[in-house]
């Protein structure tokens, strides 16, 4: 067993992504290694417009992208203005008189409470609206931390090459060899006191190797490209080459991935809550936590679980639609 990196396919898939969504045309040779990435640098655009402009031109007319964008924007606006929109205080036990722990633990809809209340008599509708904010925070922060971690590792590996590259990639490969959510579960289990932050960190750590590998792939392609060679020949400082020439040109596959990660982070947070590894503090509602907590009452009133689940599905779908159409638009192969 000369090759210690076993889940080759997972890695290859990530590398393919790095190449396909990368800047500039890519040679069609399937499975070709670093050598063929060499010609990924020069941009052959007949009209002379930049990748981003031409991608936007196609995205503007893509209904799938627009739908995803609309859902995402609505979600972000809701999260920002939620305290103003919610009709009631999300943590006030307004309907506690209606809760009968034995016969009817979940009060149904009442006038002014369109979705009823949960087991503590709190208005579900208000909790859903206010919960959008924490949900957005979990999704964005987990993605951001994973992104920054992956960016650091990937830049180190891709820019410096050599033994740094080898070492970083070994670490990344081992992390990829553990099923992702299982790793997140284990990290969350280390925390003595689970909180919002342990959830965010657990999900973020899992994303680090994926971002790192993606970024390294496109950094390597940049390193071998003509414009970097030209910059080096002109005597540009190595740090300037890395940060001003290589990094900005390698980011597009990573940004696509980040969009998709927001969706999975929101779903994963729900799974952590379901296993009792999520944030136990329910004064600040979060959809995943609401869904995880609702399982106890699912046979009394499935609505308690269905509403947060529908919210999660819609938002995750929004980010996924946006990410997938971005990937398609940035893929040089589809630029015709």
């Amino acid at each position: 067993m000369s090759n210690p990196l076993s889940p080759n396919r997972k890695k290859q898939r990530i590398d393919d992504l790095a190449r396909s969504a990368g800047h500039g045309p890519v040679s069609g040779e399937p499975g070709a290694a670093v050598g063929t990435i060499a010609d990924a640098g020069h941009v052959e655009d007949t009209a002379g417009v930049s990748l981003i402009v031409s991608a936007w031109r196609r995205l503007r007319r893509n209904p799938v992208f627009l739908l995803g964008l609309a859902i995402t924007l609505a979600f972000v606006l809701l999260a920002i203005f939620s305290p103003l929109i919610a009709p009631h205080d999300p943590s006030a036990r307004l309907l506690i008189d209606k809760v009968r722990p034995q016969s009817n633990p979940i009060p149904g809809p009442e006038p002014g409470f369109p979705l009823g209340a949960d087991n503590a008599g709190r208005d579900i509708f208000s909790r859903l609206i206010v919960g959008s904010r924490q949900t957005l925070i979990v999704g964005i922060m987990a993605t951001l931390f994973g992104f920054v971690g992956g960016l650091t590792l990937g830049t180190l590996a891709g820019a410096l090459g050599g033994w740094v590259d080898a070492l970083v990639m070994r670490i990344v490969d081992v992390m990829l060899s553990i099923p992702s959510l299982l790793l997140a579960f284990s990290i969350a289990a280390i925390a003595a006191q689970p909180s919002q932050w342990t959830v965010i960190i657990a999900i973020a750590v899992v994303q680090v190797p994926i971002f790192a590998r993606l970024l390294r792939g496109s950094m390597l392609a940049q390193r071998a490209s003509d414009h970097v060679l030209a910059a080096r020949a002109l005597g540009v400082k190595p740090s300037a080459i890395i940060f001003r020439h290589m990094l900005p040109n390698s980011l597009s596959p990573v940004i696509v991935q980040a969009t998709l990660v927001v969706a999975s982070a929101i779903i994963d947070a729900a799974a952590l809550s379901f296993l009792g590894l999520g944030n136990p503090d329910d004064r600040q509602p979060e959809w995943g936590q609401m869904l995880g907590a609702a399982q106890q009452y699912i046979y009394d009133n499935p609505a308690l679980a269905i509403w947060p689940a529908v919210c999660i599905i819609v938002v995750a779908l929004g980010f996924t639609l946006m990410g997938e159409s971005l990937r398609e638009a940035l893929d040089p192969k589809s630029r015709r």
């Binding site: 099923p179 299982l182 284990s186 289990a189 280390i190 009792g276 590894l277 999660i312 599905i313 997938e324």
Partner: protein, 325 residues
């Protein structure tokens, strides 16, 4: 691969040491008396340097000594719990993969052949929604509707305990077939259906999309045009030229799904109280049963590594281009 497993064991070892209270609390639980803690610390050699401790941990792990369970089945040896539960999860995961492949490949092929048709668009949106639904929520819905409301299928477990089935392999459906206890095989199969379908959604969505993309790519190839211009019948072109080439990436995808299946099993098995590895992991996380956690995480990760190795080998066998490179 050996390297990956070694580093994995190191990770699990460090993970155990970084837990609140450390290894002793992990093995004895929070409520242990100070005397018992001190005795175990000496017995485990926790006063030794850390590399000695890791070596001892490796030796114990190779002998399958991970300590007794504290939460899942208190008092039982953790490795024994793993051994009895592993076949259950393999059975469930195999069922889910069969469902995912049996539905994903034909639908993906059809969607590619009728590109941009209504069927194509509906199934793409469906597969995206399938990925966006939290697995455990889907499992709840299936259980609520088909088991609790309609009573079509059993609510939980692997088999009706009243059946008194003979155990041979630990795979209950296979046991029933081998011993010709048809009723127990059928009963075990019925217990597989709901958790199996819940577990199959994500692999199904992935297999569907990869098949569709890869058929589309192959349909564009020169050799397909050549086959058409030669006047071969559609059946020969589809079977021999298109499908055979398009299925190569699908094989690797199936290998990649094992990781997702293991994680999905944690969630679905919990919902259906299906006595597999996943349920053991879920309960162990809830009750902080670290003996069970370390053996299950280590073995789950090793399974993932081994399956990926097998897929790599299978890929070389079915794709001659990989062999020559």
């Amino acid at each position: 691969m050996v390297g990956v497993i070694l580093v994995l064991s190191l990770l699990v070892f460090l993970w155990l040491r970084s837990l609140p209270g450390g290894t002793v609390s992990a093995l004895l639980g929070e409520r242990a008396t100070p005397e018992r803690r001190a005795a175990l610390e000496r017995a485990l050699g926790l006063n030794e340097p850390i590399y000695v401790q890791y070596w001892e941990f490796l030796k114990r792990a190779l002998h399958g000594k991970f300590g007794s369970s504290t939460g899942v089945q208190p008092g039982t040896d953790a490795f024994q719990i793993f051994l009895t539960r592993f076949p259950a999860t393999i059975e469930l995961a195999a069922f889910a993969i069969i469902v995912a492949v049996a539905l994903g490949i034909p639908l993906g092929y059809l969607a590619a052949r009728r590109r941009a048709s209504l069927f194509d668009n509906v199934s793409i949106v469906g597969s995206l929604i399938g990925v966006a639904v939290p697995v455990f929520f889907l499992a709840f819905l299936l259980k609520y509707w088909f088991a609790i409301k309609l009573h079509w299928l059993p609510v939980s477990g692997r088999q009706d305990p009243d059946l008194d089935a003979t155990r041979v392999t630990g795979f209950f459906v296979l046991d029933g077939l081998l011993t010709r206890e048809w009723d127990s095989a059928w009963d075990a199969f019925k217990h597989l259906i709901l958790p199996g379908f819940a577990l199959a959604t994500i692999p199904f969505a992935v297999v569907f999309r990869i098949t569709r993309a890869s058929v589309l790519e192959v349909l564009d190839e020169d050799f397909v045009r050549t086959a058409e211009s030669k006047g071969l019948t559609n059946r020969v072109i589809r079977g021999r030229h298109v499908l055979r080439n398009a299925l190569l990436p699908v094989v690797t995808t199936i290998g990649l799904q094992t990781g997702g299946l293991l994680v999905g099993a944690v969630l679905t098995e919990r919902v259906f109280s299906y006595a597999g590895l996943g349920e053991a992991l879920a309960i162990a996380f809830e009750r902080r049963d670290y003996a069970v956690l370390q053996v299950c995480i280590l073995m789950a990760a090793m399974t993932f590594v081994v399956v990926n190795l097998l897929v790599d080998i299978a890929y070389a066998v079915i794709d001659p281009r990989v062999r020559t490179r």
